[in-house]
């Protein structure tokens, strides 16, 4: 097995893993109960998933200008994605949305 095949397999694995994370994020965004948990799922699709997919693409393109551009895109996504999630969550908190899952403890829940 030569180096080219190994690279192909590695990039195939990375891109498939990225695809799986996007699928998981999509299912989570549809199925989870409230905004914050959905954002938690959607956050996967713009942090780890593009990192894996772009990593796979970098292995495919080798040491070329295309890889430099992919690194730039990856850095941009890793900076903007979590920032957008953070801004969305703070906006939602400011608007008065509270999560359903973390109700403050009260005596009545026990009865």
């Amino acid at each position: 097995m030569n180096a080219g095949t190994l690279l192909d397999i590695a990039s195939w694995l990375l891109m498939s893993a990225g695809g799986v994370f996007i699928l998981v994020g999509g299912i989570g965004a549809l199925r989870l109960p409230d905004l914050y948990t959905r954002m938690h799922a959607a956050g996967v699709t713009d942090s780890i998933a593009p990192a894996l997919i772009l990593g796979g693409l970098m292995l495919q393109s080798g040491l070329t200008l295309a890889t430099v551009k992919l690194v730039a895109i990856l850095l941009f996504l890793l900076l903007t994605g979590p920032t957008a999630s953070n801004a969305l969550a703070s906006a939602s908190l400011l608007a008065g949305n509270r999560t359903e899952l973390a109700k403050p403890y009260s005596e009545e829940d026990d009865r």
């Binding site: 941009f76 900076l79 920032t83």
Partner: protein, 324 residues
């Protein structure tokens, strides 16, 4: 594979369009129209039209969404229910759709090399670009040189639209509204501000790259102007109107709107004074090809300046209005 992917995207486009029509929440409609534009940009890219895709992504998905949100902050958040003339509207839409579908039967198949569009002037553009203009991106050659009149017209459309909006909404001048939270922007949100501070210089640099690399790769004045305006709008959202207007004052923006259109028209007048036709760049230099390069860079700069000026002025005009 490409055909599967484009069918997938086109189906999603229809789904999104129906969702935009069905929703009565205007905020959701604006967001959906941004998504629509982004998918349309991907579709254009699949159809090997990266220049158009870049424009659609920058203007349609980026700036239009921001401007629509700006407009939305001045109006109600949900659509008024209207039941008048529904039958008539339905009739018109169905008739138009059927006519358009009927007309597509006469069209050549997608990518057909014998289609009239590939037989008419397109081969001539390709051959002549190699001989007379000698830049790799034929789209830029067609847009800036062969069809320079059309692009001049487009710049004046943008110019007129900007002036129209400024007349309707009024120019904010250099005084942002007082005692409003919006005038301070998001300055108390540390994370977006810091990330924005890191990214904005690179976005501005990328705008310049798109502007001046348009001869060699997808890009040009329209896209670069939109990206430049987007970076300044981001700055204004994060640091507040006041600082944004201190960085690029309204008066500069108004000067930019006029200057870009003037540069474009001025190049045309100079070529006439040098003995050529209007917008015939070959006379700008001893070497006709160098003249073409110079002319294209100058008029693309004019396009970029006008587009950036108009988009930023319109944004500031929206932002200066009180939503009450």
């Amino acid at each position: 594979m490409t055909i599967v992917f484009s069918l997938f995207l086109l189906t999603l486009l229809v789904v999104t369009a129906v969702a935009i029509v069905r929703t009565s929440d205007l905020f959701a409609a604006v967001m959906l129209s941004g998504i629509f534009s982004l998918m349309l940009a991907a579709t254009f890219f699949l159809f090997d039209a990266p220049d158009v895709a870049l424009t659609e992504a920058a203007v349609g998905a980026g700036i239009s969404t921001v401007l629509l949100l700006g407009a939305l902050s001045l109006t109600a958040a949900s659509e008024h229910a209207s039941s008048r003339n529904r039958v008539l509207a339905l009739f018109v839409v169905i008739t138009t759709t059927l006519t358009v579908i009927y007309a597509t039967f006469d069209k050549p198949a997608f990518g057909d090399p014998a289609a009239p569009i590939h037989q008419h002037v397109a081969p001539w553009y390709f051959d002549t670009t190699r001989e007379a203009i000698d830049i790799p991106n034929v789209v830029t050659a067609v847009l800036a040189s062969f069809r320079g009149y059309d692009t001049l017209g487009e710049v004046f459309v943008v110019f007129t639209a900007g002036i129209g909006v400024l007349f309707l909404l009024g120019s904010p001048g250099n005084k942002p509204r007082k005692s409003s939270a919006d005038a301070r922007g998001l300055r108390h949100y540390l994370i977006p501000r810091m990330v924005g501070r890191m990214l904005i210089p690179f976005i501005l640099l990328f705008a310049l790259y798109v502007q001046f690399h348009g001869d060699f790769s997808p890009g040009g004045g329209f896209q670069a102007g939109a990206i430049f305006a987007a970076a300044m709008i981001l700055y204004s959202l994060l640091e507040g109107e006041k600082r944004a207007l201190a960085a690029v004052p309204s008066a500069w923006l108004h000067a930019m709107i006029a200057a870009g259109a003037l540069i474009y028209g001025g190049v045309g007048v100079v070529t006439m004074l040098l003995g050529g036709n209007f917008l015939d760049y070959s006379v700008l230099s001893q070497d006709p090809i160098a003249g073409q390069h110079l002319g294209i860079i100058l008029i693309e700069a004019g396009v970029g300046i006008t587009v950036a000026g108009v988009l930023l002025s319109v944004y500031h005009a929206f932002a200066a209005r009180d939503s009450s």
